[in-house]
Symmetry: C3
């Protein structure tokens, strides 16, 4: 048996080639979850439901090749939740590939990305699902995020004075989500994200990882804003949600714009994040040509708000709380949802080996809806 | 090109991190099969059928992390036979993950398992498909085994006197099989297995590997008994077989219990295994509410018996023979099946590189049914 | 972090076990593509379509085990294009496995292959999709190639005099393509390929890699001829194309023979390849038993021709041109297609990191059809 100079949490494989022609970190990871929920029938919490789930299981390769200026990332989904979503637009095949992207630092602070990866949307979505402080992301994220898409991105960074950093991220993508094999439908999607870090960069990329595991010695803040325009979008949530396909196979198309502002703050074990999201369509009701009464699909227009904070104790236990609400425009007939979450985490080896639990109380349209208790672990090389 | 201190059959990758923070063995494997069969039409064996198949192809990761007391196993299926079985309960996605489980030795001889893996059912099933002495498992196993499920397991071991070992294994699982994404349907599944090893542990885990490749110097015996109760089961073979779904989408539920006893014996190249299985349901006939005549599904109630033995010659050739029979209860209208198998194996590098062939003669309901000749190889890092 | 004695383009992992019990090269690779096309409406090029695509993403393991005389190859597809084609014959599961094959040099120049891999068909097909000098293969290949199948192959090589090499390749396969789980349908498929290399072997297997990256110092030529007979074939293109299944589930069967001649020439950066293909069926019209008028399927009988050449400049830029035409027999009612392609490639690290673009002009049945501009990169460890 060999001895290898790696460390748990730094990749199952992690090396640089002796001739400096490439580096690689290869890491499998799994998330085990248990869900228990009670529905509210108007008077009582009843109808207990329980489930175990391998929520996520992934294989991830990243590093650089030829030169450290050329980075790559390939991430594959393995769990049935990861690969779900096969339809005629994905060739009726499961969606194994999450990321397949090259990132080329071709000039100074400019980086050009080509391939499939996350769009520069709300911060909560871009944070890896392996770096969360609750069992899963908020309801704002699940209904409003921009997820992944295929195309090109341009990233740039400006250093102002000693600390102040500004980051600009632009993406040009197909706009139908990941793993589409039928080519571009409708028009392209344009995404821009601007980030301000007035007190300098977070330690070890902490703005894109929840919980202040680095225990920032000075306050760190990231303020972000995103504007996304999906020209002739064909899905109810821009590049996510149902494809708005009529019975004759034609797709309804309308321009959809999405807007986010978000903030991340960390200081000495305390972490805070807040987000606002808004989605508007130029014609939200998907009606057959000639039809004026019956909309077969409605774009999920609306607003959402999320706020969460946590504190990490010296023993690497954390408690965190979150409030999220989604409000959809009246035209959608979708009910508003609020969720209160109280979470606890024990970070045994940071986010790489952790045990988490959270308790969720939800209200739909102002009425009690359900209580859910969730626990699980992350195991991540 | 590098030189690595591993060995064929010990994993393609096999190392311990220098800081002792984890160990890993990574091994791909494939099984190639050729099947030739002749059906019996009452007078002659005719209707020759021939097939080639990549029966199994797998990627397996196992080892420990943080401490040798925390073991993990991740096994992925690759072949079309491995990943088959997509349906609405698996998110209409292929079933890629076989195992994703952590095993924590939290106290003395106690081990807690969490995740998806094989249930502690009949020994033949728990033995890896890479460690068989025939081309495939018996018909008892294919109709009665408990396969994999998701949940928690508790394993414990007692050492009595110098040699006598008792193992107790308990599992609490969802009860619908592997890779279910819709949560628990019906009730939970409870499995208990008790093992007695009166002459001590088998060399290198030989009770869970067929053929006596270790050539036990003293006789070794394992006696096992399993009781499994699936509360409100929804599949015709407990957590396997067809989902008993009515046209309205509702699922028929009935309690199903499964019982096994088995024995494994090995001594100086001789290996012997026998198993008995029994399945009973509280209400085996799946009828629509209000209906009394027509059962849309029937739980495969019945008994089965399997006995097999082999002898490994000094040159690592083995001959083995097997008799298996399945008897289903009259209510099921399923025909009984008997199978006689004569097998030969050449273990070139143990079970890791082997060539096998077997000849099968089958009788259905007492009548000749088919003859099948099968050969193939296993290639396993 | 470790230092590993490998090199970009020689595999992410590449080592020989210290005890010489096996060697392995493991390499992931991805192909990113952008397509832009304009259809010709009779007067103008209009109707611009644009698409981004992860065309191929693969994991490949190869090397030898136990002895260098026993080689293996396992290649897995990851992209939605790679794994597409699920149907009842593949167990309704995605086709994840491309190759799973052992190659045993059991005697002198004889090699026995067992498993699933490419058949010894036209050279263009057997060349890896990672070693092409255009964005993708020709239209001859897409309509006439023999692709992969499962079974046995026998390869042999004769050295005549100092340089002259003759290679003979025979395959016996199921004849329904890759990843079939339902056993052999119809009869077997028999393939033979003969190759003549009058001026000796190409440097580093250059006959099976496009572009003369080795800059052959002396002229090298390979002449090949293939004859393939698919007994009772059930697909419209022998072991490819639609399964000719009638509504009652039965399959139409007819013998299909395919014939190829091809040539590859390379000298000092110049590369040339040409191919001719022909397919004939004994009864090309798939009609229901008793029916004489209406054919539900037609075997794609016809001829095709492909010719291409490229020149690699000292700076590793290459320009290449290709002309391909497909002519189908009148009975098929399929329109003939011609394609002119002009390509440019920059081989940064040979075929392992390259950027390519090509411009295609197509004519259907002698009429202008479309213009397509394609570009992309290959990233291959």
């Amino acid at each position: 048996q060999e001895i290898s100079d790696t460390k748990f949490g730094k990749g199952l494989i992690n090396f640089t080639a002796k001739d400096s022609s490439f580096s690689v970190k290869f890491a499998p990871r799994i998330q085990f979850r248990s869900f228990t929920s009670w529905d509210y029938d108007g008077e009582n919490y009843e109808d207990l439901e329980q489930a175990f789930l391998i929520r996520r299981a992934r294989l991830k390769f990243d590093g650089w090749a030829v030169t450290p200026k050329l980075k790559y990332k390939i991430e594959l989904g393995l769990s049935n939740n990861d690969i779900g979503g096969a339809n005629e637009y994905t060739g009726n095949s499961p969606r194994y590939i999450l990321d397949a992207v090259l990132k080329w630092n071709f000039y100074e602070n400019f980086e050009l990305w080509a391939g499939q990866t996350k769009l520069p949307g709300n911060v909560e979505r871009v944070i890896s699902s392996g770096n969360l402080q609750f069992i899963d992301r908020s309801i704002l994220n699940s209904r409003f995020n921009l997820d992944r898409d295929i195309g090109l991105q341009l990233h740039h960074k400006i250093n102002l004075g000693e600390n102040f950093v500004i980051k600009e991220k632009f993406a040009l993508s197909q706009g139908e989500g990941r793993n589409i094999v039928v080519g571009n439908i409708g028009g392209l999607k344009y995404t821009g994200r601007l980030e301000f870090l007035p007190f300098g960069e977070f330690t070890k990329g902490g703005d894109y990882s929840q919980a202040d595991l680095q225990r920032e010695e000075t306050p760190k803040l990231m303020l972000g804003a995103v504007y996304d325009f999906n020209d002739d979008a064909v899905r109810t949530r821009s590049n996510q949600g149902s494809f708005m396909a009529f019975d004759d196979g034609s797709l309804y198309m309308t321009d959809i714009s999405t807007f986010f502002v978000d903030a991340v703050f960390k200081y000495q074990g305390f972490s805070f994040m807040t987000e606002y999201a808004n989605r508007e369509a130029s014609e939200p009701l998907a009606m057959q040509p000639g039809e004026t009464d019956f909309a077969e699909y409605v774009v999920a227009e609306g607003n959402a708000f999320n706020i969460q904070a946590g504190y990490l104790f010296d023993n690497n236990y954390e408690i965190a709380a979150r409030y999220s609400s989604n409000d959809f425009n009246e035209v959608t007939n979708l009910l508003g949802l609020e969720e209160y979450t109280l979470g606890g985490s024990k970070y045994i080896v940071g986010h790489k080996l952790k045990v988490q639990a959270d308790l969720n109380y939800s209200r739909q349209d102002g009425m009690s809806n359900y209580i859910a208790f969730r626990f699980g672990f992350d195991f991540h090389f």
